[in-house]
Amino acid sequence: MIEIKQLAKKFAVENPKKLSEQEKKDPRLKGRFFHSVQDVSFTCHKGEVLGLLGPNGAGKTTTLRMLSTALKPDSGSVEISGDNVLANPVIARKKIGFLSGSTGLYGRLTGRENIHYFGQLHGMSEESIVKRINELADLLDMHNFLDRRSENFSTGMKQKTAIARAVVHSPELVILDEPTTGLDIMATQTVLEFIRGLKEQGTPVIFSTHHLDEVEELCDKVTVIDLGRTMFDGDIASFKALAQGSLHQSFMAAIQSTTSE
């Protein structure tokens, strides 16, 4: 189980003159700091899939980066099955599998070597790495390209390799930042199947997305973030109940409560 409470993160603005008009109007810009995330809280239990929604620039990636320990929050807490992530980042990193939205592979290594390297970094034994890679290759249908250099991979192949790399150490929690963005229908389907597989095994998954159909298909819980604040946090049924009709309208309703405030 993962519990996130009142996470906040601000970034120093080096040159305020360089900001765009829209950024200057953003209420999160206060003096020399841009308060990217101000108050984000949600929880995700074993076997749950949580969809993180929000407009571009809402603070989704920053939130996920804080969960993954890549960034250090200014305040708030993150706990994974009772372990404080902020106090023990190295322990937390072993429990989390994180796929960043802008991730890449080492082009001159093969797909297998890419995954293998991160297995080693996680301190896995040689034997268990080999076994795990075979398992993941079956699961993600990667056998026919696994031993080629990854610089020639298609977007789908890259994403599958990146996912395999993120979960090679069988993490307790999987965090995916826009895992299906830019993928074709087949590759998207493989990724969604994979998330479903994790859910069946009881591994909680948090993923951010702009595709509401994915949310409807997979998620048990929905968290909506806007302007760095949690606007909605609840199960899919109550999210649907926010508005009559489609999920899009529910989403708009969740967002609008900010603007009206």
Binding site: F11, K72, R93, I96, T103, Y106, E113, Y117, L121
Partner: protein, 397 residues
């Protein structure tokens, strides 16, 4: 740490472009180019030596011996010219290569007629051997005249040589061969070694920091459960390794190719020179390289990790080579010696020490200062690297 190092080296070895600059360039291309240049210039010299020179002669009747000596069809060819020809013009339009003007007072009787002044007109701007070739002939004649004058005067051999050169200033060099050549080669060595180290380290350094950021692999690496220090150390060692390897490969190839190309000519000299330098001095020269490479690697890694992209990193690294040359140049200034404060100036002190080691005049106590200061600086820079690897504003710029 070794995990990171091993993976970086593996990637480096698979990168043909970087490898080309690191290995092929110094090992094959440079020696071939130098060889070709040497071959072409040797050809040009041979040609100048064996070329048949066209010449015109004025006043040949006064010096039949010289005229006779010039009658060698495989070397010189006489061209007739009219009396009031302008020498400059005919040399410029290549009718002749030189004009020899012998004065009326030319005579073997030196004691009566005094010195004779023969004029040689030729274009001395380019590379040619005209003067040398004509001088050979004139000189032998001149010596004959000298001999006949001496015999007229009835001088013995001692008197003869005393007359030719009454006072001799003899040079007695207290520096042995090693010190002499050590000073010259030792001055050049740091330039070559340091710059090679730097260029060799640059390519992998860009790839390892900025490249990783650009490809988006950095974030994933940072959230793997391995200490940042170990990541930095692994990357740092890779850069050091690449830099040292490039320098060693290049110097090694220079020595080998030099021996091959010079074909025995200089081998004895080189071998003698090398034989005088003790093994531990060679080892020290190599060891000296280590802290310098460490400084380079730490600076390059900091730059690389700060940069957003390959391009940005490369433009920051460009001026590095100029910055490196300055302290090496300082080491060549007269009066700058390996003692006192100079022994603490980084890079300059290592350049000085390399020179001293080659010369065989090393004051080994200065090694403390050298290693002390370089290790201190490299250590500080390394700590800075680690600090930057923990800075969010640097990593997520």
């Amino acid at each position: 740490m070794w995990l990171v190092f091993k993976k970086e080296i593996k990637e480096l070895l698979r990168d043909r472009k970087t490898l080309f600059f690191m290995v092929a360039l110094p090992l094959l291309i440079f020696p071939v180019l130098i060889g070709v240049a040497g071959f072409v210039s040797k050809q040009a010299m041979d040609k100048a030596e064996s070329q048949v020179l066209n010449y015109a002669l004025v006043g040949g009747q006064y010096a039949p011996e010289i005229v006779e000596d010039l009658e060698q069809p495989d070397k010189f060819k006489l061209v007739e010219i009219s009396e009031n020809e302008d020498f400059t013009t005919i040399i410029r339009d290549e009718t002749v290569d030189f004009v020899l003007v012998i004065p009326e007072n030319y005579s073997s009787n030196v004691l009566e007629n005094g010195q004779t002044n023969i004029k040689l007109y030729f274009n001395d701007a380019g590379l040619n051997l005209v003067y040398r070739r004509v001088n050979e002939i004139v000189k032998s004649q001149s010596e004959l005249f000298q001999q006949s004058a001496f015999s007229v005067l009835g001088l013995d051999e001692t008197q003869q040589s005393a007359l030719i050169e009454p006072i001799v200033l003899e040079k007695v060099n207290t520096a042995d061969d090693r010190e002499n050549w050590g000073e010259k080669i030792g001055g050049m060595l740091p330039y070559v070694l340091f710059l090679l180290c730097l260029t060799g380290a640059m390519a992998p350094a860009t790839d390892i920091g900025a490249g990783e950021k650009e490809r988006g692999t950095l974030e994933t690496l940072l959230i793997s459960p391995i200490d940042r220090n170990k990541i930095v150390m692994g990357k740092f060692l890779t850069i050091c390794f690449a830099g040292t390897m490039t320098a060693l490969l290049t110097v090694g190839s220079m020595v080998i190719w030099g021996l091959v190309l010079s074909q025995g000519m200089a081998i004895k000299f080189v071998a003698d020179f090398m034989a005088q330098i003790a093994m531990h001095d060679f080892l020290l020269i190599f060891l000296m390289l280590v802290p310098v490479v460490a400084i380079f690697a730490a600076v390059l890694l900091s730059i690389s990790i700060y940069s957003k992209s390959f391009k940005e990193a490369q433009s920051y690294m460009g001026p590095m080579s100029i910055l490196v040359v300055i302290p090496i140049m300082l080491a060549l200034l007269p009066g700058v010696e390996l003692k006192g404060a100079w022994a603490w100036v980084p890079i300059t002190n290592v350049s000085l020490a390399m020179k001293e080691l080659l010369k065989g005049t090393m004051d080994y106590y200065q090694l403390f200062a050298i290693f002390g200061s370089t290790v201190l600086i490299a250590g500080a820079l390394f700590a800075f690297c680690v600090y930057w690897f923990n800075q969010e504003k640097v990593l997520f710029r």
